[in-house]
């Protein structure tokens, strides 16, 4: 065994008394094994990594149990011993490579320093090893890469360097704390491939922590599901995802989207788990407060511990008695009230950043300009949901800000057929925006009554405000007495509901949702999406839903627009995503989204090459530098034509319609009950 954790418990001291962080944690990681640790936000999954690397950020109140690396109990190790272990026998890869790397050191120095600290190699051997490591993580031109600084390389390249650092001293165990969460899907997919290959080659053990079950399903041999600082279910990856048995795991999986959802008309369960109690007396079963199968006679009889049952260990009193608990029912997806009338239209919309400064203009220099959005035209129909998908930097947020009247742009916008500018009063009364992060979109100094009252005062001054505020809260399923609360007294999902209620206050025709579900846990995300659909059904509001997540898109969108480097490379019906033709970028995007469904297999399409500079004016196709289906010089030099392979489907590509149609499918489902949409 590389790592053995037995009955580990950790309590922190806070101003208001001790808080339980972890308890009853027992797990093993064998040599060459990858254990995935999954849990929602607040489940203390990162605290477990902190405990293993012995870098506890809080003030420890009590710590029990043992964490053994090999045969050595590291909870008793001295600080000096730990210093020599870290980096040598245990390495760690953090979420954000941008803050992991020291900005004033070259990338090479990071590696050389680690090697100098932990190995007996001489200077030239260290140099050689560093070059080898950089080559090993697939970075081009290692010698040049050694001399670069962190800000000179992309996010994916930074994370590769961090990976090289972790592998530098051939450790026994690597801890990954959300290593791909900050990366784009296509970049994350190549990084995971790289790790899988390196892991197989070096035989390192790993603890892979993530909130993204799809990623874990892809990489881990075994999975441990953590809830409220306790592992509730642990076992082989395939078995857990195919047949979850703990009610928490079941609820978690039922709320996650799958690629086959549209084909099987599967809905998402919205019954999420409440946060587990952290203070004071603990219930016999931590999950009993949220459990649909809670039976006081069985569950509250005695403290529930994880027990081995068949292929897994599971902390549930009813499963331990041999019961099989049914998975929760998910409500069927709601149809959207779409209509053929065009509500909102954008014509040749462009957003450019970077105005030449006065001194530059006087000296006759032209400033570097970034074209965030180029020449985009689209139509939004009454009551429909148009999803804008793309990775970071594709211009989707710039587009949202333009449509919210926050960003100047070139081009024309029409509302109901009449040319209207987004910063006009007429537009504002009919188009509302919901921002990504409810923590920053709600003023912490205002009560919900003020937050919801302002748009009422501005847009509907005649209504009875307190009554309308209560009605709005009720529409987003919040109790009316929340009106006197402050945003910080609400959970993340509740805050986003308030943001939705604020947008609804104006009774808009269009709501722009800018990544509104990305910071939320799966069940909360499912509930928000459900709520949006309910609202649409009741009021016929059209949505512009901006996201980078293809999974959730299948549950909310009617039409999809895929953006790449400021251009819309493909627009189609959401059902068209299930089969060719696709734009080659859409194809890669679809392939890099993970699935928790063990019945599905994805064909692997990975993007090589790098993004062109944002300030460059490209004569050809924006995707040419990374396109796996690159045709030849025409891709680099000529603007691609807008193809219409079928009705309502547009693809910006040089590839001929026939070639696009002939692309093999990405997802293959072994599910027998496949139905046609």
């Amino acid at each position: 065994m590389t790592l053995t954790v037995r009955d580990y418990a950790l309590y922190y001291d806070t101003a208001t008394g001790p808080v339980r962080i972890l308890d009853d944690i027992s797990l093993d990681i064998a040599r060459g094994e990858v254990l995935g640790l999954v849990g929602e936000s607040g489940s203390a999954k990162s605290s477990l990594a902190n405990a293993v690397i012995r870098d506890l950020p809080g003030k420890v109140h009590a710590e029990r149990g043992s964490i053994c690396l090999g045969d050595e109990d590291i909870t008793r190790a001295s600080a000096a011993t730990m210093t020599s272990l870290r980096g040598k026998r245990i390495a760690m890869v953090f979420q954000n490579a941008a803050t992991t790397l020291d900005p004033v050191q070259t990338l090479g120095n990071h590696l050389l320093e680690t090697l100098e600290r932990h190995t007996t190699l001489d200077a030239s051997a260290r140099q050689a090893r560093a070059l080898e490591l950089i080559g090993m993580v697939g970075l081009p031109d290692p010698a040049a890469m050694m001399l670069r600084f962190a800000h000179e390389v992309s996010g994916g390249e930074k994370q590769r360097v961090v990976l090289a650092l972790a592998f530098a001293c051939e450790p026994e165990l690597i801890l990954f704390d959300e290593p791909t969460s900050a990366l784009d899907a296509t970049t994350a997919a190549t990084l995971l491939d790289l790790f899988r290959e390196l892991q197989a080659r070096t035989g390192v053990s790993a603890l892979f922590i993530s909130h993204d079950l799809g990623t874990v399903a892809d990489i881990a041999h075994r999975v441990a599901v953590i809830y409220g600082g306790r592992i509730v279910e642990q076992g082989p990856t395939e078995a857990i995802f195919a047949r979850p048995q703990h009610p928490y795991t079941q609820a978690l999986l039922a709320s996650l989207p799958r690629p086959s959802d549209r084909l099987t008309a599967r809905g998402l369960a919205t019954s999420g788990a409440r946060p587990a109690p952290r203070r004071g007396e603990m219930p016999a079963c931590l999950f009993s407060g949220s459990c649909p199968h809670h039976d006081p006679a069985i569950c509250d009889a005695q403290r529930v511990h994880a027990v081995p049952i068949a292929d897994r260990s599971i902390a549930c009193a009813r499963v331990a008695r041999g019961e099989t608990l049914p998975t929760p029912d998910a409500p069927a997806p709601l149809p959207s009230p779409r209509d053929s009338a065009v509500l909102l239209e954008a014509q040749n919309l462009s957003v450019t950043y970077g105005r030449p400064s006065l001194t530059d203009r006087l000296r006759g220099r032209t400033a570097l300009q970034v074209r965030a959005v180029r020449d985009i035209s689209f139509q939004l129909h009454q009551g429909e949901t148009l999803a804008l998908v793309g990775e970071s930097g594709c211009g989707k947020s710039s587009l949202a800000r333009s449509l919210s009247g926050l960003q100047p742009f070139a081009g024309k916008t029409l509302l109901g057929g009449v040319e209207t500018t987004p910063d006009s009063a007429a537009w504002r009364a009919r188009v509302q925006t919901i921002f990504q992060n409810p923590d920053s979109s709600l003023n912490p100094r205002h009560t919900l009554a003020t937050i919801l009252g302002r748009p009422l005062k501005l847009f509907r001054p005649d209504v009875d405000r307190p009554a309308e505020i209560a009605r709005l809260l009720q529409r987003v399923h919040l109790p009316a007495d929340y009106a006197n609360r402050y945003p910080h007294q609400l959970s993340g999902g509740e805050k986003q509901r308030v943001a939705i209620a604020r947008a609804l206050a104006a009774e808009p025709d269009v709501i722009i949702c800018d990544e509104i579900t990305s910071g939320l846990d799966a069940a909360v995300q499912a509930a928000i999406v459900r709520l949006l659909r309910e609202i649409q059904a009741a009021s016929g509001t059209a949505l512009v839903f901006i996201t980078h997540d293809l999974g959730i898109l299948r549950h909310v969108a009617d039409r999809v627009a895929v953006m790449y480097l400021g251009e819309m490379v493909e627009t189609c019906e959401v059902s068209a995503l299930d089969a060719a033709p696709w734009h080659p970028y859409t194809e890669a995007l679809l392939s890099s989204s993970h699935s928790v469904d063990p019945q599905s297999r994805a064909r692997r399409v990975r993007l090589q090459g790098s993004l062109p500079k944002r300030t460059q004016d490209l004569p050809g196709c924006p995707f040419a530098s990374r396109c796996p289906r690159h045709l030849g010089p025409q891709c680099d030099t000529q603007r691609p034509p807008l193809r219409q392979p079928e009705d309502g489907h547009a693809i910006l590509c040089h590839l001929a319609d026939d070639t696009l149609h002939a692309v093999p499918p990405i997802w293959q489902f072994k599910t027998p009950e496949r139905t046609t949409p």
Partner: protein, 277 residues
Amino acid sequence: MKTLRALLRNPQGAAGLALCSLVMLTAILGPAIAPNDPEAFHFGARFAAPSAEFPFGTDWYGRDLFSRILVGARSTVLLALLATVIGTALGAIIGVVSGYLGGMVDEAIMRVTDAVMAIPSLLFALMILAALGSSALNAVLAIGIAFTPGMARISRSVTLQVRSLDYVSAAKARGESLRWIVLAEILPNTIAPVIVEGTIRVAFAIMTLATLSFLGLGAQPPAPEWGLMIAEARDHLFRSPWPVVAPGAAIAIVAIGFNLLGDGLRDVLNPRTGDHA
């Protein structure tokens, strides 16, 4: 009332409130409870150490320091407070507006404040007094204006962080007026560091007022103004420390009191920590 109760639950706030109440009571009741005439000479007891008759000792004319401090509290503390309030309020609004508007307006306002900050605040106050004529109220105004650029800098730096937050974008997208965005959305979220800085400035204001008095531009001898008392006693420091220690300690208590009150207020006014305190 709710703020007051929360303040009392907060240890720093309660201590600060106690000290400040003591100071304010002194300012109000001082002349009434002073045991001696603050300007009466006791030539038999020059440089006396603290005793039952003179609790804080006496100065070089034999004047009772305890009575002088009680009587002087009113002019010293109230004027310093007024100067700080003027400087803080003016600075906070200028800073928030400048930070929010950005661009050329921000550049212009900030370069002017930089220029003003380059002049030592005492010198700047002197200039203002020279222009307005010397009186206690003009001295207060001068100190308030001299404090403004520093406060503007602080509130602007916080505003720059707050302005990029989504709730400001949301207000803009909603078409809110500049007044609402500045006063209701941004200002309350920048107030914490401004209040803390303001409470520290109270002590500075007392010292600057004292200096102005010393230069003959504020309170005039034999007025029992604390700063003036220290300035005058400076010559006799080697014969007896009491004429410096007593008003010095009084100023320190005011400074510490307002500082603690500021810390307490910052916690209480923050909705995130306010109700758990």
